[in-house]
Amino acid sequence: MARSWRDAFELGEPAGSEAAPRDSAEPEAGPGLFRRLRQSLSKSREALQAELGASLFEQLDDEAWERMEEALILADVGARATADVVGRLETEVEGGTLSGGDAVRDRLVELLAEAAGGDAERIDLQARPAVIMVVGVNGTGKTTTIGKLAWHVRNELGRSVIVAAADTYRAAAIEQLEQWSERAGVEIVRGSPGGDPGAVVFDAIAAAESRGIDVVIADTAGRLHTHSNLMAELAKVRRVAAKRLEGAPHESLIVIDATTGQNGLRQARAFTEAVDLTGVVLTKLDGTAKGGIALAIASELELPVKLIGVGEGLEDLRPFDAREFAAALLAD
């Protein structure tokens, strides 16, 4: 958590509508919120401590290299990206530029953080209104992420938010987002179940413009990337947004579940073809999965991770910290 919320966003000029962030608003302390927060915090601390021991990096024999690869494969980094990163480290070690186990380990973490795309990329909220479209396969946590993001944008950044319930397919998706919008204290534009998702986004942008709202966050129905008709529908939602407001959507974020394996790469590829993604939100990092697939996605598709989800509470969404993420990949 080296990075603050303000570091993760490109905000442009101060918002006209709301000057100061409402820092007084505490997240609703729902059942288990603080317990989860504690758990996820202690988990990332443990992760940092339990990195592959320095001794492993002192004696770089075949077994040591293999254990490094094993750790990364088990973290879902994938065979190709693992071979790539470990290969580069091996070259540097052979070149004799690194001395001592700590230096080797630090360099590995550095290489992994680089491969994960670093964390310099920000979420662009300069436009008025700025439109964020959130996409992904079923069950990755899109609606939950939007609830948390809306809360943070409003409370940490002091920007007004309207969410667009454009998942008109899944049963009760609209009700789910409605509950989140209440918790986050933001407005919502809803369509009718089975209605046209493009129209909902269109209406939300219009509402934001007429009411002077700063940020529009659009929820979309989860869809498997192999269903070409559903992907075409998503591309259309994007076109509708662009038609209503030039430059929109300003951010198209794909939500990837940290438990996802190598299929995540195909997901990201298909979604970026359909809606030209600008970044990844990696969710469910509070489990035992490391989310290494995000590294493969970042290095292969140059798609940076911008936010991570670490729990179900409003506060459990954070700016991505590449070094912390990289170190956790090596933890046992």
Binding site: W180, S228, T260
Partner: protein
């Protein structure tokens, strides 16, 4: 991106064909390909290690290295071992002798439990069992609403008491209701939970203790990566589930997680969900999963699908035709039309042997159902005689068909050629033989 494993193996072993003999180094190269392909398919690292060691041993065993087609032998061994690991025959749900059968659904957030509950209810209703649902996910916003809605769509009764009561109490209450109402089955939807969340895992154990379910299903996303084994082990320890319901298999995930879970916990995969519609849940067939991971196609599923939509007589005809290589373009057309009512194109083509490449091409070219319209148009532009005997189609007929269907001669050629290959392979597979991978269009 790796191609299908059988492609890769043939490539690796292609040099061997000319020499006609495998060396130990060849086998090691093949094992490397298998290892990478299985990792790419998200099979757990440790399972992969054990698996390749086993296959290697068998490959080096007597007879294989000197056999007529060692490359094919290796593919066969991999397939057999994979099918073995996937777990032999699939098992059924256990049903109560009297009173409602209780099925408890558990799993991580977003694995698809709520939808799976409704699908299972619908599947059981098709078998003459009335299934009711109970909403015990009091955590996720609107989860109860969602179950009520999908339950209604599935024609199943839904017991719910909102989100204020304790889930264990709700489950217990619903069991009483189900008993009184004479429901055959009660399916318990629970909140998604992390396997390391002690409090929620305790809650699940409580629900189990109180409702004494006959079957506990772990709902698992087919796209899960290496973590699948940790999840499965934790759920096995706390609630000792009986089997797995695998979701989102309609995507292009190879589903190695299923293999890992079976290998590590010994629990069988019972059901597979193959689409967003409520009737797209099927019994799981382990031997077919091995085929999916290997890209060998699945004739059995194709025949079964045909049985669902046509009558038995027609299905038997079809099976006989496939065996005798009498499967015609007319049959293909009928199948295609039936199939289009069944779900996405990729699913069905993926079941046809040798069509792995076609599926890939379809995805690459982003072809969709319009492409099927085109295929249909080509076949419809043929005479009945041509459909029955595609070998009749000569140059001038091709031109006529192309004109008639508004396509090109190349398109007609491609269809005829692929159909010919497919027919041979289907016949071989239906007879239970391993196809010669060269005929699969593999280099």
């Amino acid at each position: 991106m790796f191609d299908q494993l059988s492609d890769r193996l043939q490539e690796t072993l292609s040099g061997v064909r000319s020499r006609g003999k495998l060396t130990e180094a060849d086998v090691d190269r093949a094992m490397r390909e298998i290892r990478l392909a299985l990792l790419e398919a998200d099979v757990n690292f440790k399972v992969v290690k054990a698996f390749t060691a086993q296959v290697r041993e068998r490959c080096l065993g007597a007879g294989v290295l000197d056999s007529l087609n060692p490359g094919q032998q290796v593919v066969k061994i991999v397939n057999e071992e994979l099918a073995e690991l996937m777990g032999g025959a699939s098992r059924d749900l256990a049903f109560a002798g009297s009173g409602p059968t209780v099925i408890l659904m558990a799993g991580l957030q977003g694995s698809g439990k709520t939808t799976a509950c409704a699908k299972l209810a619908k599947l059981l209703a098709g078998q003459g069992k009335s299934a009711a649902l109970v909403a015990c996910d009091t955590q996720r916003p609107a989860a109860v609403d969602q179950l009520v809605t999908v339950g209604r769509q599935a024609g199943a009764k839904v017991y719910e008491q909102g989100t204020e009561r304790d889930p264990t109490e709700i489950a217990d209450w619903a069991l009483g209701q189900a008993k009184a109402a004479g429901d055959d089955v009660l399916i318990v939807d629970t909140a998604g939970r992390l396997h390391i969340d002690e409090e929620l895992m305790d809650e699940l154990a409580q629900i189990r203790k109180r409702t004494k379910p006959h079957d506990i299903l772990l709902v698992l996303d087919a796209m899960t990566g290496q973590d699948a084994v940790n999840v499965a082990e934790a759920f096995a320890e706390r609630v000792d589930f009986d089997g797995v319901l695998l979701t989102k298999l309609d995507g292009d995930a190879r589903g190695g997680a299923a293999l890992s879970v079976k290998a590590v916990t010994g629990k069988p995969i019972l059901y597979a969900s193959l689409g967003e519609k409520l009737d797209e849940l099927e019994r799981f067939h382990p031997e077919r999963m091995a085929g999916r991971i290997l890209g060998m196609g699945d004739v059995m599923s194709l025949i079964e699908k045909a049985e669902q939509v046509s009558d038995k007589q027609q299905a038997e005809d079809l099976e006989r035709k496939i065996r005798r290589q009498e499967f015609t373009l007319e049959d293909f057309l009928q199948q295609m039309r039936q199939v289009r009512r069944m779900g996405p194109l990729g699913n069905v083509l993926g079941m046809m042997p040798g069509m792995g490449k076609a599926v890939k091409q379809i995805r690459q070219a982003d072809l969709d159902d319009r492409e099927l319209d085109r295929l249909e148009a080509i076949i419809l532009s043929m005479t009945p005689a041509e459909r029955a005997r595609p070998q009749l189609i000569d140059g001038s007929r091709r031109k006529r068909i192309a004109r008639g269907s508004g396509t090109t001669v190349q398109a007609v050629n491609q269809l005829v050629k692929q159909f010919g290959q497919m027919r041979k392979l289907m016949a071989q597979l239906a007879k239970g033989k391993m196809p010669d991978p060269q005929q699969l269009g593999l280099r």
